[in-house]
Symmetry: C2
Subunit: 226 residues, 2 copies
C-alpha cells in the first residue's frame, strides 16, 4: 500500500493528487504496470473522480501513465529509448555547459563546488543513498546555474522523469561512491580552466548509465516496456 495523502481543501485538489501520484511513480512506490483507478483513489483520499482524472491526464501527457479508454489506467513501463534519449540529451547539454563554465571558474565558484563534494562524501559515508541522489541533482543544477542557465536545468529536470525511475534502482544496486570521483574530475577540469577536460569528464560521468542499464534490464525486465 502506498503512503497516504492528506488533502488541503483550501487549495485545488487536482494538483495535489497529481504531485502525490507523480512522486509515488518516480520513486517506484507505484511500480510500472500498477493499476490506477479513478474511483478507487478518489474514495481512498476522500475526493470525487474528477480531480483524480485530471491528475491522470497530466501524468499521461508526460508519459508516466497510460490511460486505455474503457479499460483502465496504468503506470507506464520504462521506455528504454526514452531513457537513452534523455541521457544523450543530458550529455550533450551538460558537456556544453561545463565548457562554457571553464573560463568563468574563479575561486569563489570552485569553493562552492568543493563544498558540494564534501556533503556528497558525508552522505556516502553514512550510506544515505536518498540524500546522495538529491545532492547529485543539486550538483548538476548548480553547474547549470553557475553557467548562467538555470532555466536549462529546469527543462532537463523535466526530461529526467523517465530516467529517475531507473536511477532509483541504480543507486540501490550499484556502487555509487565512484560518482564522487567523477564529480571531482569535472571540477578539476574547471579548475584548470580547460574546457575540453571538463567536457570529457562530464561525458564520462553521464555515460555511466550506459554501463548499468543493460544489467538493470536483465535483472528487472518486468518494469520495462517490451
Amino acid at each position: 500500500m502506498t503512503a497516504s495523502i492528506s488533502i488541503d481543501f483550501a487549495q485545488a485538489t487536482a494538483p495535489q493528487v497529481y504531485d502525490w501520484l507523480r512522486a509515488a511513480i518516480l520513486s517506484c512506490e507505484l511500480p510500472p504496470g500498477a493499476r490506477l483507478s479513478e474511483t478507487e483513489i478518489g474514495n481512498r483520499i476522500g475526493v470525487s473522480r474528477q480531480p483524480v482524472r485530471e491528475a491522470f491526464i497530466r501524468l499521461a501527457s508526460e508519459g508516466l501513465a497510460e490511460v486505455r479508454p474503457q479499460r483502465g489506467t496504468y503506470v507506464s513501463g520504462i521506455s528504454t529509448s526514452a531513457v537513452l534519449s534523455a541521457r544523450l540529451i543530458r550529455e550533450a547539454v551538460e558537456s556544453d555547459l561545463v565548457r562554457m563554465l571553464a573560463p568563468l571558474a574563479d575561486d569563489a565558484l570552485l569553493q562552492r563546488l568543493d563544498a558540494e563534494i564534501d556533503q556528497q562524501r558525508t552522505a556516502i559515508d553514512r550510506h544515505d543513498v536518498p540524500t546522495f541522489v538529491t545532492l547529485d541533482d543539486r550538483f548538476h543544477r548548480l553547474l547549470a546555474e553557475l553557467a548562467g542557465h538555470e532555466a536549462v536545468w529546469l527543462v532537463l529536470d523535466g526530461l529526467k522523469s523517465q530516467m529517475n525511475r531507473v536511477r532509483h534502482i541504480t543507486a540501490r544496486t550499484f556502487d555509487i561512491s565512484r560518482l564522487i570521483g567523477q564529480h571531482e574530475a569535472i571540477i578539476a577540469g574547471l579548475r584548470a580552466h580547460d574546457p575540453a577536460q571538463a567536457e570529457q569528464a562530464m561525458r564520462l560521468h553521464l555515460r555511466e548509465l550506459l554501463n548499468d542499464l543493460p544489467e538493470i534490464e536483465r535483472s528487472r525486465p518486468e518494469i520495462f516496456l517490451p
Copy 2:
C-alpha cells in the same frame, strides 16, 4: 476568429480539442494573452465544458496556456528564457548528432539530404514560407533519424513548442533563404566526414535565432512575458 473544427464523435473529443488549440497557439492564430473560455469554446464546437477543460490542463502542463483559478485561462506569453533554453539545448544536442553522423555519411545518406535541399529551394522560390518551415523541421528530424536517434528528435520537437511561435514570426520577418546555405554547409561537413566542420556548421545555423530574437522582442513586445 480562429479556424473552426469539426468533432469526430466516434473518437474521444478532449484530444481533438487539445490538438486543435495547440496548433492554433503554435501558429499564433491564438496569440499570447488571448483569452480561452471553457464554456465559450465548448458551446462553439458543440461539446460540454469538460473535454475543453481537459485540453486546457494539458496545454497548461506544457506551458502553452495559463489557468488562473476563478479568473480565466489565457494563452501564455512567450518566455524569452524558455526560448533561449530550448535553443541552447537544440544546439548542444544537434551538434552532437551531426558529429556522430559524420563518420556514417555514405552516398545514399548524402543523396537523401541533397534531395531535401532541392525541395527546400523549391519552396523558397515559390515564397512558400509554411512549406519551408515544415521542410526545415523535416531536415533536422532526418538528421536525427539518420544518426539512429529518432526518439531524440521527438523530445526536441516537444521542447520546441515555445520556440515555434517565435519562428513563425521570424519566417515572415527575416530573410530565410540563407538558411538553405547553412543547411548545405552542414551537409558539406558530413560529406567531408569531418565531425568538427559539421558541428560548427550546425552551431552557426542554430545561433541564427540569437541574432533575430532581440529585434523580434523590440517589434512585438506584447507577445513576450515581462
